[in-house]
Symmetry: C2
Subunit: 375 residues, 2 copies
């Protein structure tokens, strides 16, 4: 039905092999022939058959990007940056397949299989891995190893490195990893609050089964602990290896409330925090979106920011600087990290030594934090 290579070949009076060579460009073809072929391609309006090409060449030009939620600017920015490196650059353009996992390891696995099926050239995984469902995390790791073995480049961006498989401890890491310094950033943020004089600091976390959530909380607690303010009932940030222990909401201190990474949970959690500790002088949120909800809740309670209560977020999404007052937060260089991930995925940049690079997370002190009312 459609125009095929053979049609073009006939039209240009050459063999189909020649046409293929002209199109792929990796074989010497005389100038005369090349123009003749190109003319024929043009006249017949020929478009290469991707599947056939991929089958014959045993490679495709698809790059997969797994995100938790594409509607969330956090992921949107990363995905966009990855694309800017993998996308329609003349020459070796790749098509990027963005897959919404919703943060579920199960769907992650599904998509990974789908991408494996397409023989994707590379896969970039972003977002926190869900650790909840025990078997899945391992299954994901195993799948990634298999993808890597099949020649797909695997890059993790903004998630912790894969556990090194015990059997192949010496081998190449199956995935290049760009991990954000969530722990350090969170720690610096809370230190900032402490140095302003805050002592009653509430914390609104993300979903308990995300590593991102856990690492940020650990940083927060480390800062608290260093100031001699360890919360009761909080097992301060220790080993990151043991998933099993409890489904999450146990063991949190009185000033820590779990939420999801969205605005309304930030709103509700802040109300809850206020109920538990009316004398709160600061609220730290696990991300900017939660912080926005926190601001709304505080304002609805008649509290002024930052005069009565300071608020801080994490991520430094574009809207944060426009919040009123401008939000103190921790900047994650999402675009830069995504772009780097994209370059690694394209094989244009070397994998960081050891397979893992930590991306810095800088404190952005802005107007939403100030000394507590007492001082």
């Amino acid at each position: 039905m459609a125009v095929t290579l053979a049609d073009v070949a006939a039209h240009a009076k050459v063999s189909s092999a020649t046409v293929s060579r002209v199109l792929s460009g990796n074989y010497p073809v005389s100038e005369a022939t090349r123009t003749r072929v190109l003319r024929a391609v043009d006249e017949l309006d020929y478009v290469l058959n991707g599947p056939a090409s991929a089958l014959a060449a045993a490679s495709s030009d698809l790059v997969g990007i797994l995100v938790n939620d594409i509607a969330d600017p956090f992921f949107g920015i990363i995905a966009g940056a990855v694309q800017s490196e993998t996308g329609g650059t003349a020459g070796d353009e790749k098509l990027s397949v963005v897959c919404n996992t919703g943060g579920s390891a199960e769907r992650e696995l599904t998509y990974l299989t789908l991408l494996q099926r397409q023989r994707a050239a590379a896969v970039v995984l972003t977002g926190g891995a869900t650790e909840g469902t025990a078997g899945h995390a391992d299954a994901v790791a195993a799948k990634l190893a298999r993808l890597a073995a099949a020649g797909t480049r695997v890059v993790l961006c903004g998630r912790p490195p894969l556990p090194v498989p015990p059997e192949a401890a010496g081998g190449e890491p199956p995935a290049a990893t760009l991990t954000f310094d969530n722990r350090g950033g969170a720690q610096r943020l809370t230190e900032h609050l402490l140095s302003l004089g805050h002592r009653r600091i509430g914390y609104v976390t993300g979903p308990p089964d995300r590593t991102t959530t856990r690492h940020r909380l650990e940083g927060h607690r480390a800062a608290l602990a260093a100031a001699g303010l360890a919360e009761p009932g909080a097992g301060s940030g220790s080993g990151s290896g043991s998933p099993g222990s409890g489904s999450g909401s146990g063991g949190l201190g009185r000033l820590t409330v779990h939420g999801t990474f969205d605005r309304s949970s930030g709103y509700d959690a802040t109300l809850e925090l206020l109920r538990r500790e009316p004398g709160l002088t600061a609220v730290v949120a696990a991300n900017d979106t939660i912080a926005l909800g926190a601001c709304a809740a505080l304002r609805d309670q008649g509290l002024r920011i930052p005069q009565d209560v300071s608020v801080a977020g994490f991520d430094d999404l574009p809207f944060s600087v426009d919040a009123v007052p401008a939000l103190t937060t921790v900047r994650l260089p999402l675009h830069a990290a995504g772009a780097r991930a994209g370059r690694i995925a394209m094989g244009r940049e070397a994998v960081p030594p050891g397979g893992v690079a930590t991306v810095r997370a800088d404190l952005m002190a802005r107007a939403s934090t100030a000394p507590p009312p007492g001082r």
Copy 2:
């Protein structure tokens, strides 16, 4: 190198045809055989070769989504919604390929060709079509017609319908279209401001070569005109057919300033507006992001919102309700529209009669607009 169908067949002691039938499921296979095959698939860790399958079956399970900028929540939300319908639902899961066109018709064309090459099952185009580069718009339309002819479902979401090709005036429209009521929404928004008593209303538009920009501006002017306030030098919203006339920034009234769809252009444009007309009592922005920039600019000039100047946006992105004060805007049901586009793309929902459906745009009057200071 990889496990193939034949390997599975050998392992299960059946022919490869049978394995294929078991996997595709559209052919009667006895229960005993099916389990045997499935077991073999499992044991060998077999993954179908997508390209080979697509080649043989002459169809693929890719859906393309073209957006201007995936990092922009406007597009992120639509893309996410499309995916929720086309994505990993058990059974006929499709992989969605998100392509950032950056609003350039040229890149749009590039991606369309790439998708055509992949024999995509469907393509959803969002975002305003750039009309600037004359030939490209036609080329895009022609390409879409060709895609449609080749069996790819084409859906336009949030952009105007394709011009009906003169030759095939009676035929099926090549694309199903979901178009936002930008003109009507903008008109209602400006009417709202007028009814509050505003007369000196500044307008910050988007890029001049987008239909979205134009339609919103037309609605704004229609409202102005109806109130007897037509701006000098503004050819009030008339025919939408003639692209050629001028590259855009001519013909705008004194109170209209062009920007791009981003925050900083909103900031700059608002400053410019203030310079031109210090007595301004309201600023209408072509979208929420611009409005945020406008708010920042006004605030930096010591003006209060809404007591001194009212501000309104368009789109009702999630952050708009959290702006301080909450932003008056026009709500576009992005998620619903995207989901519907996805369903149409999957062939699960009928194309609207005539091929075109208009999606409503409702005024959301919030705290950022109030009567002007005089009254």
